[in-house]
Amino acid sequence: MTLLGAAVDYIAQNPRLFREALVTHLLLSGSALLVAAAVGIPLGAAVTRRPRAAFVALNGVNVARTIPSLAVLAFMLPFLGIGFLPSFLALAILGLPPIVTNTWVGIRQVDPDAVESARGMGMTGSQVLRRVELPIAVPVILAGVRTSAVQIVAGATLAAFIGGGGLGDFITTGIGMMQVELLLVGAIPVTALAIATELGFSLLERALTPRGMRES
């Protein structure tokens, strides 16, 4: 309890330092998630019509998934050096797999009858995608975005290792100097942030599920 008090004291005494780390963490995660979604959803949707491209993309994404987050961040170092940009790029890459996979799965799961009848109504391929397939796939796609968001928020903690800033800075400094209260200043807020991300996206998922598809 006294440790927790010391951590709170630290934040109270260094409000700017804490705010800066928090803002960096949020900016890093937010921008990486946006880019991952902006690339991942179109990519996942594009390969649904091309089985061979889908095979390559999904397997590629699965192999990429096995590379540990730490290594993805560290790989940026030789090319982009340290700082915000390499961290952002690494996190966007880390966020890609769940979004691509879920977009593909979500669209593939759409009832072929629904697609058939949309075609019968005279919709073109891209109209079917935008007006029928994507809306029906929204819950599955958003589940992918949620997984990706939680991974990115957690991964952003590791940005501290390549000078990207964020809440991980407190943890690494705390471990480096063996100051337990300092590592709590990073660890507790980042945990809260990850849980809030998970819950927030679950709510969003529910809100954006087309009304006819909600379970209750």
Binding site: L3, V63, T66, I67, P68, S69, L70, A71, V72, A74, F75, L77, P78, V150, V153, A154, G155, T157, L158, F161, I162, G168, I171, T172, G174, I175, V180, L183, L184, G186, A187, I188, V190, T191, A194, I195, E198
Partner: protein, 206 residues
């Protein structure tokens, strides 16, 4: 490349430490999950509570979880293993419980009718039938733990992550690549091997 050849034994040692860390963690997690999974498989309310709890653990960023364990158990392997066990629980318990729940009711009925006791029912009917799903859980958990274990190097648990960290510190890309590729290769190897086991189990049960 010459660095890799010259330090082959260091790399092998790091890989070995990594394997031990992963095996010990997954083994402990599996023992816990088997007990909990069997217990909650027929108790929907307990199942929901355990799933929510382990999902919460799973959401905690790994560096934060390791850091939070330092004041309690210090540095080194103990906090690393506790953290890695914590991350495996969600996947393992979920798959064990799901596998057991999917055993058809009429099969259970028939086995009971043959006079099997609860323990015999579990070990001779339920667990064997649930095995493919349990192996799938084991596969996903192990692959996940292999990746997260790299971060445990920061709290002095050793392994391939130590190579990545020293590569970052010395701005030496080769170390980073060896650590990263080594970890990925290990994960892919486990994934391929256990997928094969899973398929064979499914085929023998079909």
């Amino acid at each position: 490349m010459t660095w890799v050849i010259r330090h082959a034994d260091d790399i092998a040692l790091a890989a070995w430490e990594h394997v031990v860390l992963v095996l010990v963690s997954v083994a402990i997690a599996f023992a816990i999950s088997l007990t909990v999974g069997v217990w909650i498989s027929r108790r929907p309310r307990a199942y929901a509570v355990v799933m929510a709890g382990t999902a919460l653990l799973y959401t905690i960023p790994s560096l934060a979880l390791f850091a939070l364990l330092i004041p309690v158990v210090g540095l080194g392997r103990p906090p690393a293993i506790i953290g890695l066990v914590a991350y495996s629980l969600l996947i393992l318990i979920r798959n064990i419980a799901t596998g057991l729940r999917e055993v058809p009711a009429d099969v259970l009925e028939a086995a009971r009718g043959m006079g099997l006791g609860r323990w015999q029912l579990l070990t001779r009917v339920e667990l064997p039938l649930a095995m493919p799903v349990i192996v799938a859980g084991l596969r996903i958990a192990t692959v996940t733990v292999i990746g997260i274990a790299t971060i445990a190097a920061y709290i002095n648990a050793g392994g391939l992550g130590a190579l990545i960290f020293s590569g970052i510190q010395q701005q030496f890309a080769t170390k980073i690549v060896v650590g990263g590729v080594g970890t990925a290769a290990m994960a892919i190897g486990v994934d391929v091997a256990l997928t094969r086991v899973e398929r064979r189990l499914r085929a023998s049960r079909a």
